[in-house]
Structure formats: structure tokens, C-alpha cells
Amino acid sequence: MDLRFTPADEAFRAEVRAWLRDHLVGDYAALGGAGRPGREHEGLDVRMAWERELGAAGWIGLDWPRQHGGREATLLQQVIFHEEYAAAGAPGRVNHVGEQLLAPTVLAYGTDAQKRRFLPGILRGTELWCQGYSEPDAGSDLAAVRTQARLDGDVWRIDGQKVWTSLAEHADWTFAVVRSEPGSERHKGLSYLLVPMDQPGVEIRPIVQITGTSEFSEVFFSDAVTAAENIVGAPGDGWRVALGTLAFERGVATLGQQIGFARELEEIADSARASGAIDDPEIADRIATAFCELRVLRFNALRTLAGDPTAAAGAASVAKLLWAPWHQRLGELAIDVRGVETTLAASGDGYALDGDQALWLYTRSDTIYAGSNEIQRNIIAERMLGLPRG
């Protein structure tokens, strides 16, 4: 056990930091926190240009094999990249889904031709991806797939609906889990298809959320098509591939995310000091508690990423079950620090919220999306504690 970063890691950190200092300027710097949760649709054109800058400088696909253009970076180097990225206040990434979910899936399960076709666009930041897992009546039950696909000559024809898709209207491609064997049930008979978004058979409708803004869409497939070869894994093997995609989420962005959390907490504490709310002992304790718990999140993430093997099973679920309610409590704190004035909306067209109000409302989703609290508890009970299912 040695919790210092190595000199090599520190050198890597210096490299990241220097590059960001030199390149995160002008329009890019002006973006601020745009693209972060709750602000996913802000400044998209500039962020897409920024993604290409990152790609050109080799900051995408850090951990990919060199033969596919990656750096084969270690887990900790990826962590460092995300930390520095967040600390610099760089904008929210537009192609997280492509880089962190689709690319590892193609690397693990894809054909050579798929690797040649799809990896470069991600690496260069020129092709954006969106996710097609959730369906309207499925909720947390990912296996309840009803979207159908059938092979028709040299194309798959797709009918159905996906939901909770981020950045659907900007993505070039989606990866969708579809039912390719009619009459099959649950995990069986599914396939994992790569589908171009820009075609008549794909319709996108934004979902307005409780913040009054829209971060997600519904995606409707009506006789949408994709080439027969755009299947990852074998037909009927989609469930295994889809789970594989989820497993690639190693949480390297967690510590970067926490830097954002710390910034939010500091802003709340600043606001409390400025208004005198800090003298309310309950507010002070809630700020102190949030601070201590955020440190716990950090230590927990370090333990997982820097490899205590005993922390493996269920660690991702533990992390999510700790941070999501934490962030939700932070949102409550943000408006409680200011009190009754936060019942007033911001001035502006339509339904306008200030940052604290948006944080308060947006964080209600933290405990629902990407595996609800309930799903995480199921996973922890089963995999970490070995308690039998009911």
C-alpha cells in the first residue's frame, strides 16, 4: 500500500495539464461547465470542435491498444486525465458514449472490419454515438427488449422504440439492443446492432424533464435499416455483448466527476458564507457532512481504481449507491442554504431556473439513471454479500 502517485504518473499529469493550459482557450474556455449533467445540450458545436482537438492531440482512446491509435494508458493515468480535465474546467465531453462504451465493445467483440470502420471516427472525434438500451416499458429491466429487427437480404430492418437517449439528435450512430428472434423472451434472441441515425426510419423526440429542459430523447425506429454486417457478436448473442459494454465502465471518470462535485460544494459554502447561512448550525453541519462524505467517495474510488482486489465485486454499485444520493442531498442543500427565495424562478423566457435550482431538480435523476439505487442494492446484495434472490 502506497498511495502516492509515481513519478511517471506525475509526469503524465504534467503533460495533460500543460496541454490543457495551452489549448483550453478562447471559445473552448468560454464554454465553462457546459455539457456537464443538466447542461448537456449547451455549446454543442464548439464542444464538437473541442472533441476533434482532443482527438488530434491523442487524448481520446487513452487506454486503447497502440495498433488502434491508443496510448495503452494505465487505469491511473486515465484517472489522472479525467482529474486534470475536470480541474481545468473543460467542457463536458460529447462522445463519452462512443469512447467509453461503444469502442471497448467493438475492441472486445467486433470484427477487424468493424474496428477499422468505427474506431477512427471516435478517436478523431468525428463520429458521435448514442446508446440504445432502455425501452419505454422496461424501466430498470434491461432484458425487457421489444424493439424488433429482422434480416432482410443484406440489411437489418428495425422497428420499435428506445428511450433515455442522450444527444440522440447529434449522434451519427447508435448501438441498439434489439430482438432479432421473433417470439424469444428476455435475455435470449437479442442482437447488438450499430445503426446510423441519419435516415428516414429514425425519428427523435426530446423528453422534457422536471427541470423544463431536455437532456434525453425517445428514438423511434420505423423500418430503419442498417447493413447486415453492422452486428457486434453473433445474432442472438446481444445480451452478452450488451452486458460487456456495461462492464467496461470502470469508473475512470469518477475522480474527475468528484472534482466537479467539490466545485459545487465550494460554491454552496461560498454562498452560505456570503449570506450568513453558514451560522445556522444545521447548514454548517450539512456542509461539513457533504465535505466528509465527498472525501469518502474519493477514498473509495481510489481503493477501487488503485486495486485493492477485495473491493472488486459490486464496487461499481457501491460507488454509485454512495455518490448518487450524496449528489441529491447536495442539491437539497444548495437551495436550503438560500431558503425561501429559491421558490422564485429565475427571470427569463419560459421556465427558467438558476444553477442551484437546476442542481436540486436535476439530481433527482442521479438515483434513477444508469442503474437506480434499487438496482444497485440488488447487485450489492447478490454479488458482494451473496444474499439469495427472493
Binding site: G139, G339, T343, A352, R364, S372, E374
Partner: protein, 364 residues
């Protein structure tokens, strides 16, 4: 002792609920204030006068009946100024002509401090010796957050009189020196407005020396009304959530059969039952045992607002993704419940006030 509602009271609840089922559907609530609905509330249901004396055209019932309406209107989130009107009307005992206007449908705005309704927001100018004489007293001051203020025809204002003592005044919305500025709200089913008074002519409502008591009584009635409305919101959120859990299938089972969710609903139900009993007791106490309100009113607001907030937050969670959409009503319950917590004293502040008044937190 009889804690059951009378048959008339049960009938009133049923009538109001049936009315709101027609006139406060989700799309109607979202469309905002609808004068025709308010008119029906006045003319058909006679709700603004339910607790007012028959002499002014009211039904002569008690605040229990007003409480039933508050609970049901909260349950439906009807965007209408019923709460401030029915609370404000209790301060008009000395001015039957104003009470008669309330019966006829004039809405009241409560010009109170949104953090602490027991504090004055305006003061009567010394230059007009109107408090005793013929010329009306003139008020100066600002109430930045008046619930449904833009709909009010009449404001009840907590002010200091020319002698610096607390007093209640009535001010006409259309009078000179009165400026009402609507303000957008996070809870989109209830507006707020800022009220600016600049030498605005006023009618004094409280007798000299009784202003503090009148203001305290108004604040306590307001807390009880908030408690009742919150119970309505919580009841709606819980019952719709339970209904959803009974229907929605995931993993091949009805969601409501998952014990972890059942247990959470049970905890919410228990908390809400306690809150409901408290709100009903407090509603009775407004007329039945006003001496108990000093303690019961703040604690009722604290307990009921918190229960509603907890239920509404869980309603979003238990609905899953759909509960996070604008389209679903869960966010409306959630925003209303939180606003109720925030307005006129937080649960923590009101718990403390109740315990202080009960002598538990007085220094030894």
C-alpha cells in the same frame, strides 16, 4: 370526543373532490389560473365562505370545513388563490363588508414575511395620523413574496402602526400607492408576486394593543392551512405512486410486489397517517381550541410539510424515469411540497418554535 368527520363534512369532501376531478385535471392544472373554475368554486361550492358567518353570506361552518377544501385543493394542485383567501378571511372579523367580498370571490393576498409570518413587512406612516382619525392610515413597505399575489383583490398586511406596534391592515389591490409585480415560480402551479406599498391607504383590521395577537393568530392559521394542503399533496403523491406500483410490471412481476418498495411505501404511509391526524386535529383547533394553536400550528406545518416532501421525493424515485419527466405530475407534487416547506418557516424552525412555546427549550 369525536375525531370522525360528520356526514356533512364527508359529503363536502366528496363534492369538492368530484369537482376537482373535472376541473383540475393535469392539463388544466398546467394551464394555470382559470377564472371560470374559481367562479364555480365560489358560486357552486361556496368554498371561500364556508367558514365565514352567515351574516356575511358565509356557510357559518368551521375551519374544519375550510380544511377539507384546503386538503382537496392541495391534492389536486388547483392553481387558485384559495389558501391565502381562506386564511386571510379569518383576519377580517372586524370588517364584515370585506368578509362579504371574500364570500363573493375576491381573493386575498397575504402580505407577510415569507420567512417568518410573524414579522411585519410594512409600516404605517407617522405623517398620516389616520389610525385614529377619519383619514385612512397609509402604509409603506414591500412584501417580496406574496402567494398568488397577482390574483388578489385585497391584501392583508402585517405592519407596524404609527406607534410602532404590530397591526394588521387591509389594502385594496387597485388603490393608489399599490404596485403588484408578478414573479415566476419554481412551483409552476402557484404564482407569487411582490407587493410594493407606497403611502397606500389601508383599513386597520386589528384593534390597538391586539395587533400582535391578531398577527400570531393569522400566522398560526396559515400554518394549519399549509399543513392541510401538504397532507393533500402527500396523499395524492402516495396514492398515485401505490396505484402505479400495482400496475407496472418489471422483471416479470408487478413492481408493488417487491418487498423493498412495499416497505418504503409503508414507511411513507405511516408518516403520512401521523401527519394527517395532526393536520385534522389542528384544523379543528382553529375554532375548537385556539389556545392550543401556539404549539399545534407550527408543529403541524413542520410535520405535514416534511411528510409531503418525503412522499413526493419518493414518488419520483418509485416512478423511475417517467417520474423525472415534465409530462408526469410527480414533479408538480415535489415542487409544491418543497415550496410549502420553505414558505413561512422551515420545518426545523417551526419545530423549535413549538418546543419553545411548550416550555421544553426554555433556558433553565
Amino acid at each position: 370526543m369525536d375525531f370522525a368527520f360528520t356526514e356533512d363534512q364527508q359529503e363536502l369532501r366528496a363534492v369538492v373532490r368530484a369537482f376537482l376531478a373535472r376541473r383540475a385535471r393535469s392539463e388544466q392544472v398546467r394551464a394555470g389560473w382559470e377564472p371560470a373554475t374559481w367562479a364555480q368554486l365560489i358560486e357552486q361550492l361556496e368554498l371561500t365562505g364556508v367558514a365565514l358567518p352567515e351574516a356575511v353570506g358565509g356557510a357559518g361552518a368551521s375551519f374544519v370545513e375550510a380544511g377539507i377544501a384546503l386538503e382537496e385543493i392541495g391534492r389536486a394542485l388547483l392553481p387558485a388563490p384559495y389558501l391565502p383567501t381562506v386564511v386571510g378571511a379569518t383576519a377580517l372579523a372586524a370588517t364584515p363588508e370585506l368578509q362579504a367580498r371574500v364570500v363573493a370571490g375576491d381573493a386575498i393576498g397575504l402580505a407577510l414575511d415569507a420567512r417568518d409570518p410573524l414579522r411585519a413587512v410594512a409600516s404605517a406612516t407617522a405623517r398620516a395620523a389616520g389610525d385614529d382619525g377619519d383619514s385612512p392610515p397609509l402604509l409603506d413597505g414591500v412584501a417580496p413574496q406574496v402567494l398568488d399575489g397577482a390574483l388578489a383583490r385585497l391584501f392583508v398586511v402585517a405592519a407596524r402602526d404609527a406607534a410602532g406596534e404590530p397591526a394588521l391592515y387591509a389594502v385594496e389591490a387597485g388603490a393608489r400607492g399599490v404596485r403588484v409585480v408578478a414573479r415566476p415560480t419554481v412551483d409552476q402551479t402557484r404564482g407569487q408576486a411582490a407587493l410594493h406599498l407606497s403611502a397606500a391607504p389601508a383599513v386597520r383590521l386589528s384593534a390597538p394593543g391586539e395587533g400582535a395577537a391578531a398577527l400570531a393568530r393569522l400566522g398560526e392559521t396559515l400554518w394549519v392551512a399549509q399543513a392541510l394542503e401538504a397532507v393533500g399533496v402527500g396523499d395524492r403523491a402516495l396514492s398515485e405512486t401505490v396505484a402505479y406500483l400495482k400496475e407496472r410490471v418489471q422483471f416479470g412481476r408487478v413492481l408493488g410486489s417487491f418487498q423493498a418498495l412495499r416497505h418504503r411505501c409503508a414507511d411513507l404511509a405511516a408518516e403520512l397517517e401521523g401527519a394527517r391526524a395532526t393536520a385534522h386535529y389542528a384544523a379543528w383547533a382553529v375554532d375548537g381550541a385556539p389556545q392550543e394553536l401556539a404549539v399545534t400550528a407550527p408543529l403541524a406545518k413542520a410535520v405535514c410539510a416534511q411528510a409531503a416532501s418525503r412522499v413526493a421525493a419518493e414518488a419520483i424515485q418509485l416512478h423511475g424515469g417517467i417520474g423525472f419527466t415534465w409530462e408526469h405530475d410527480a414533479h408538480l407534487w415535489f415542487k409544491r411540497a418543497k415550496a410549502t416547506e420553505q414558505l413561512y418557516g422551515t420545518p426545523r424552525a417551526l419545530r423549535r418554535l413549538a418546543a419553545e412555546r411548550a416550555g421544553l427549550l426554555r433556558a433553565a
